[in-house]
Subunit: 516 residues, 2 copies
């Protein structure tokens, strides 16, 4: 792992000329990093024993208390942020020199609910060290093996939140320890926010931020959450798509009608819906609604960065079980830069043993639109509604009246859901100062450019943070992609933990040239 | 009601020259018809008090016993046909002269299950006489009013099976009484079969016929069941569409997949199914699959008869709640002459509160194809499968294998159900001897041509009778269309009863010129 250390030092030295050094920080040595990481394993195992589903405020409180002490031990000041029993935790490294830029690190201490019976260990709350045996199966090792001088990077620690998201918190604490051991302080004013309801879509995060605006004020936001690129290469994520939902319903006869007496007479709404959906996309999966993709402009630099992502698309297609991908983008990364139009559910009458021979009274398609910053939900909703009307439909609000039925041969309703900030698409410019800063930190640390995800396809609630704090952000995922996040047998690969501590120490040591 | 009697006699006299009179029958007088119909009301009320859901064999036995005595009182010989407890009844007028053509009348003594709480009377098994009051609501009359010298034709008798199908049996018995009062015998060898499981789709009818082939042998089959044309004009039905069922399933990714990570990459099977369905029909509801309608040829005579059916299509569209009909045929009747392609159910993942943001793993359309004799199920299935393949799909049996998934971008399965005789389309030529015979009987009786339904859109199990007996058939519906058949508050309009007795007496008196 310490292969690139000499080059690292050289790069650090060189880059010192390119940036305005606001603090005299330098990254710790490999030995310091190793020692700090190993030392943190005991705390990690301790905090993983604490259940953390935010439906139980007492559990959340125990986690907040535990992390509060852990930050205090490192000299940070802390404050518990009350949140209807589900306490969030704020921590801050005091005594930053005046004018030092502030970076807020966001993580979360809560975890997904567990079904203990699905776990292949005594309890999700009993952290269990495992290694793969010759047959490829996970077998337990004595937990004491975690607490020695070294560990095998291929070992994994299994527990709820071992990866998502207690590992990044522990890695940050270890990185602080390593930095301290090297005799340095972070190159910026460090703040930390531990959310307590991330796994419940952070319903109160905006309110808590609003109540603590001054406390949480920062120049930059770094989100430590989510999985790294499946190649396990160091990863920076600059944005995520948003998600908007709408329900499209096509109306047929007033009630389910006898398909013998009325088949060939009363138009079938499932068939009509099919025609309508078919009019929205071509056979390659590209949306054909006028203007749907039009605001999205990809420049050559962006395309180069996307092409550089080491996606194994053949493996991806195999895992999905599809012979060919849609042709929205030239590759997987490019496809994620465009808004989607997905039929997430569809139904007319019943299928299987409950199917009856009827012309259904209606047919419904539940849609989700993954948005990008250039295509906000409202604009896509408007394009969709216009397209539906252009296909000859009269749009009604709710159930059509008898008068609607008498007047319009094609009736549909289109109900779009309001989109909250947490479901909004956000993206940081890859040439912005925060992007340059983190790319530099990782390039120095790892000796190569990180994988740069311009926009991840899924939606994470970054939008609510960005909306509330008005601050540039980057997501820095640190855990292995195959961590079984949200499922049984969640685990963290120790190699990723060690590399993550190194990456975070690199970030902590990286000077910030400008907060613009 | 007896307005046309003189013309009737004239027509009878004239037509006597055109047909070979095999028996010296003449229709009863209006007074004889009235007396016989009125006299039958007591028996009708009596038998309507007997529950007749064929899930209770003892109830079916009571009905079979009751009808056996009723036929015996009229001099018919009878035989109970054992059927695993659900006895069917055979009756026959003995002593027909040798060489007399035989006509088998098919009816059924069983009824649909009841939910007594939904009935607006003491019990579905307590026949209740009602008239509409000024406010348009049904109010009860003393049952004795039914048993006087005359009744108001607008009165209705409410009870389970009051219309479907005990009324036609009672009308036939009354017609026999009237004919006897006129001093005549039927113009043919009369046989009667009362099914005991029609409301359960006659699962054993074919077997019972097979066990009693000689007994049931006939030259013609008259089915007394179903509602008349909604105009209440005398109606003959010469055929019914069949019904075939198939399940079309389009496969997406191996399992429901995250719509954020894979939307714009993994093709959505609901969308793919929509494109496939859209390729099968045009915007006017016409099937565009090559050859689907091609075998159907309608001549000018058929079109004239269809155009003569007094359908109130504006009222039909209003009732269905549709502004415009599909354009498969130029009118409702013509539309029923073509096979249909109906999506009777459709589903992908979930809708409503259970909807999740996924690319569904599959999308299913349940299809029903209403067939006509020229387009048997197998030929339509083959056209459909060929069309699906023509749209670029690889058809699999059951779930696709990993190899299928790796090889074929578009995967679907198409499973067609085997079609039993009871679901087969049947039609009698409108120029055939049986059609000519019944048209003549009704034209003489009512003084005008009956409404002739070349093919009803729905499917009734005529096919199993026709298949088992190899005999030409016509369906003669006699009950009011608004009888609430199969539902609560089933009822029979007395005017229809009286007219039905007259029509049946006309049929019984109508000579059969030829059995070819």
């Amino acid at each position: 792992m310490p292969k690139t250390s000499s080059r690292h030092l050289l790069l650090t030295a060189l880059s010192g000329c390119l940036f305005l050094p606001l603090a005299q920080a330098a990254a710790p040595t490999p030995a310091q990093l190793q020692t700090a990481a190993q030392a943190s394993f005991r705390e990690w195992a301790e905090v993983l024993a604490l259940p953390n589903d935010s439906v139980v405020p007492a559990d959340i409180q125990r986690n907040a208390d535990w992390f509060e002490q852990a930050f205090k031990r490192r000299g940070l000041t802390t404050r518990q942020l009350p949140n209807d029993g589900k306490t969030m935790l704020f921590a801050e490294l005091p005594n930053a020199p005046a004018g030092t830029p502030t970076v807020l690190f966001y993580m979360h201490l809560d975890g997904q609910a567990v079904k203990a019976s699905e776990w292949q260990q005594e309890s999700p709350w009993k952290p269990t060290l495992k290694q793969r045996n010759g047959a490829g199966q996970w077998e337990a090792l004595p937990i004491d093996r975690l607490f020695g001088q070294t560990v095998d990077p291929e070992w994994r620690l299994f527990a709820r939140s071992s990866a998502d998201d207690k590992a990044p918190i522990m890695m940050l604490l270890a990185a602080l320890d390593a930095l301290k051991a090297s005799g340095n302080a972070p190159a910026f004013h460090l703040k930390v926010l531990l959310d307590s309801e991330e796994e419940k879509s952070s319903p109160s995060l905006a309110a808590v931020i609003a109540q603590n605006q001054a406390l949480l004020k920062a120049d930059r936001l770094v989100v430590l959450d989510g999985p790294m690129h499946p190649s396990n290469a160091p990863t920076l994520v600059f944005g995520n798509r948003g998600v908007a939902r709408a329900t499209l319903k096509v109306y047929g006869p007033k009630q389910d009608s006898h398909s013998g007496h009325y088949g060939n007479y009363a138009a079938n709404p499932a068939q009509t819906l099919a025609r309508l959906l078919a009019s929205m996309k071509d056979d390659d999966g590209r949306v054909t609604i006028a203007g749907y993709y039009e605001p999205v402009k990809l420049d050559d630099d962006s395309r180069r960065i996307m092409a550089a992502v080491p996606d194994d698309e053949a493996a991806l297609r195999k895992r999905l079980g599809i012979a060919a991908a849609e042709k929205v983008g030239g590759n997987y990364q490019e496809a994620m830069q465009y808004p989607s139009l997905n039929v997430r559910g569809m139904q007319a009458a019943e299928i299987g043993s409950r199917a009856r021979t009827v012309v259904p009274e209606s047919a419904t398609a539940e849609l989700d639109l993954r948005t990008v910053p250039e295509t906000p939900p409202e604009s896509l909703y408007a394009l969709l509604a216009k397209h539906i009307e252009g296909q000859g439909f009269h749009l009604v609000n709710g159930v059509p009246t008898d008068d609607d039925r008498a007047r319009y041969p094609k009736l549909a309703s289109f109900e779009s859901a309001k989109v909250s900030a947490s479901s909004t698409a956000v993206r940081t410019d890859l040439k912005s100062p925060i992007a340059t800063w983190l790319r530099s930190a990782f390039t120095k640390t790892y000796g190569k450019e990180p994988v740069q995800i311009r926009m991840m396809g899924g939606t994470v609630p970054t939008g609510s943070m960005v909306d509330a704090l008005k601050v540039p952000f980057v997501i820095v995922p640190l855990v292995n992609a195959d961590n079984n996040q949200h499922s049984a047998n969640e685990n963290m690969r120790l190699g990723n933990y060690l590399e993550g501590v190194r990456g975070l120490a690199g970030i902590l040591a990286e000077p910030i040239a400008s907060t613009k």
